[in-house]
């Protein structure tokens, strides 16, 4: 179960780490830690930081889950561990 020097599980954990970084940045980062800086930018009538906390992070979460589901399907086939 090796591919390009990495095992299936290492590849999966690598993908999860990347997704969790984005997950953290769009919610805790943009919505909480850097909200003041982002609020100086406007998205229509929304201050950007406020938008991330009340809207944007949720859209991002949805995109992340479908991206994850697709990527995992690719990895499963690459390592030949997919369901029949």
């Amino acid at each position: 179960m090796e591919h390009g020097g990495k095992t299936y599980w290492q590849t999966v954990v690598g993908l999860l780490t990347k997704i969790l970084i984005v997950w953290f940045l769009i919610s805790f980062g943009a919505g909480i830690l850097f909200v003041e800086q982002l609020n100086t930018i406007k998205l229509g009538g929304y201050p950007l930081g406020f938008w991330f906390a009340h809207q944007g992070s949720i859209y991002g979460f949805i995109a992340l889950i479908f991206f994850y589901a697709k990527k995992m399907g690719d990895i499963d086939r690459q390592f030949d561990v997919h369901e029949d």
């Binding site: 299936y8 599980w9 999966v12 954990v13 999860l16 997704i19 969790l20 997950w23 919610s27 805790f28 919505g31 909480i32 830690l33 909200v35 003041e36 609020n39 998205l43 229509g44 009538g45 929304y46 201050p47 406020f50 938008w51 906390a53 009340h54 809207q55 992070s57 949720i58 859209y59 979460f61 949805i62 992340l64 889950i65 479908f66 994850y68 589901a69 995992m72 399907g73 499963d76 561990v81 997919h82 369901e83 029949d84």
Partner: protein, 618 residues
């Protein structure tokens, strides 16, 4: 037709639908009873998960909370959705591959210990029972407000309905009624929101309306709301936080981890056919949840503006000839003076909906300065400018108090929508409470019948008898939760925080380590669960009393309220989870590795190939 008749018709029709589905989806085997036969389409499961997840609190209270908290309310929006990313990536697909019926069964098998399984059952029962009290009281409240029956009668009717489809249908009956309940509740939420967004901004999508300008002006709705609330001495809507940034951070994280660790949500993912479906189903669940969760902040902000506009003409809203709220662009452009004497609403001219809600006691006013008008402002403001203006205008204190729950419940009346929309909101509130209650009952009854009766007391029980045990424990759970709803213990309000705290600090870390740490042994996992649970209970009890008994709090002993870096007890679950992880790894290092076959089992759980139907067998 009058409102009462329409409400009876709409709510009655929705109940008939749920019962019809229950008759169609009777469960004949334990697999159907616990996991709907493992044959639910991922999109269907996503919809059922959304109804399962969105409770009376999400439907009725959340928009009002956000209206009161402003930006800080985002912690609920992010916290209650971000957990689905964790669930989709870290738990759901692996638990589905494991192929058993319940969360305690996974913990018991993975940590080769019935002690671990029993600890998990206790955590599950505590979290689910505290959660269900709120749902049952929610059912009672919705009935009494909309159908004119007493709250107690409402709970009896609610119990009877859930009994019909949960006891006979099990997970299968619950799944398909939850789909119907989702459709009812989302329509009930979106229809008024769309009307209000159109009224204020001309944009039918509330998510875009919240970022648009007020109709006929180029002043953004949020800018106008900020102006109005700061003029009246409140904190700025788009920047006000609840407590420190650290507290908001930890609170959000606790809700996320708690969401991912709540058993009634996790077990919905046992019902899909494959591992692949478990992954995408979490995404579908979040889409259906996001429809409500991205609308809620618009409902909150717009209803807040509507409310201020109703009692103060200078806000720039006026009541049109037909009674609905319309934007007056001239006043907004001129930025009218909210302290002008004639701006405040005359008591005699207040709209019908205010009179209706006064009767419920959820909306109150008192003419403190005797001018025959209602002044709604923050009389405890630290804003010197607003304070001086209010004094100069002869205002003698805030005269209006509004319960946060009105924001959603009275929304259609404030916007003067037709009676069928008001009736739909009643049906939607009931759907939200009933669907969550059913999901929790399923988690409770499967833990009792499968994890206790079958796995601990009587491993040789036949499938037929286990199914019977499942139905009996479901019926008992309904009676117990109904009793708790009728006689809510004094601590009911504080307990939802406890449910999330327990799920976050005990169940989530144990499941995650069971999958991601092959070498984690039973000693580590049990010590971790107990440590996380103990630390969380200690902090919550220190603030709210031992087992919530009044007078037994010992907050002074730990250095005063929120003494741990200013973190509130509601936000403490993430800290408990951290304790769980640390203790588990330390104990794991000091004790011996798990047996070979357990390590093989973990390797097997990690890959999708070889997934089979969920069967609960050993």
């Amino acid at each position: 037709m009058d409102l009462q008749t329409v409400t009876y018709l709409v709510v009655g029709a929705s109940f008939a639908l749920y019962i019809g589905i229950a008759i169609w989806a009777r469960a004949g085997s334990t697999s159907e009873f616990y996991a709907a036969g493992g044959s639910v389409h991922p999109i269907t499961n996503g919809m059922a998960t959304a109804a399962d997840w969105m409770s009376a609190a999400s439907f009725i209270s959340m928009a009002g909370l956000i209206a009161n908290m402003g930006y800080g309310g985002g912690l609920f929006l992010m916290g209650w959705t971000g957990g689905y990313v964790l669930l989709a990536m870290l738990l759901a697909p692996y638990l589905r591959k494991f192929g058993k019926f319940t969360v305690p069964q996974f913990i018991g098998d993975r940590f080769y210990s019935s002690t671990a399984s029993t600890v998990a059952v206790i955590c599950l029962l505590t979290a689910s029972l505290t959660y269900i009290i709120g749902q049952m009281t929610g059912v009672g409240v919705a009935f009494s407000r909309f159908l004119g029956v007493s709250s107690d009668t409402g709970i009896y009717i609610g119990q009877a309905i859930v009994f019909l489809y949960a006891v006979f249908g099990g997970m299968k009956g619950i799944t398909y009624t939850q789909v119907a309940q989702y459709i009812v509740l989302i329509l009930a939420y979106l229809v008024p929101a769309i009307f209000i967004s159109l009224n204020l901004t001309g944009n039918p999508l509330p998510q875009l309306g919240l970022g648009s300008s007020m109709s006929g002006t180029d002043v953004a709705l949020l800018t106008r709301l900020d102006q109005v609330v700061t003029d009246l001495g409140f904190g700025q809507y788009t920047t006000t936080t609840a407590g420190s940034t650290l507290n908001m951070f930890v609170y959000t994280l606790s809700l996320m981890i708690g969401t991912a660790g709540l058993p009634h949500v996790i077990m919905r993912f046992f019902t899909v056919p494959t591992v692949k479906d478990a992954r995408s189903s979490a995404g579908w669940a979040l889409i259906f949840i996001a429809l409500l969760y991205t609308t809620a902040p618009a409902v909150g902000a717009m209803a807040k503006l509507n409310l201020h506009g109703t009692v103060n003409k200078a806000v720039g809203l006026e009541t049109a000839a037909d009674g609905s709220m319309k934007v007056n662009p001239e006043i907004i452009k001129a930025r009218g003076d909210v302290y002008a004497p004639e701006a405040s609403l005359e008591v005699e001219k207040r709209p019908e909906w205010m009179k209706r809600w006064e009767k419920t006691g959820l909306l109150k006013f008192e003419d403190k300065n005797g001018d025959g008008r209602i002044q709604y402002y923050n009389d405890k403001t630290k804003n010197a400018d607003a304070k001086a203006k209010a004094e100069a205008a002869g205002w003698k204190g805030n005269e209006l108090t509004v319960n946060a729950d009105i924001i959603v419940l009275a929304n259609p009346e404030i916007a003067l929508l037709p009676n069928w929309v008001i009736a739909l909101v009643a049906a939607g509130g009931l759907a939200a409470a009933l669907s969550t209650a059913a999901g929790l009952l399923m988690a409770i009854s499967s833990a009792v019948s499968h994890d206790l009766v079958k796995n601990v007391f009587n491993p040789d029980i036949s499938e037929k008898n286990e199914l019977l045990a499942g139905k009996i424990s479901m019926a008992v759970a309904i009676v117990v939760s109904g009793y708790l709803g009728l006689n809510p213990p004094g601590f009911a309000a504080g307990t939802v925080a406890l449910a999330f705290g327990i799920a976050a600090s005990s169940l989530f870390p144990a499941i995650m380590m069971g999958i991601f740490s092959k070498k984690m042994n039973k000693e580590g996992a049990i010590a971790g669960m107990l440590a996380g649970l103990a630390v969380t209970l200690f902090y919550v009890f220190a603030h709210k009393g031992i087992f919530f008994i009044k007078g037994t709090d010992f907050v002074e002993m730990i250095g005063g309220a929120n003494s741990f870096f200013g973190i509130t007890p509601e936000a403490f679950g993430a800290v408990g989870a951290l304790f769980n992880f640390i203790v588990a790894f330390v104990v794991d290092k000091m004790t011996k590795e798990p047996p070979e076959h357990i390590q093989h089992m973990v390797e097997n759980v990690r890959i999708p190939r070889g997934s089979k139907l969920v069967d609960g067998a050993h």
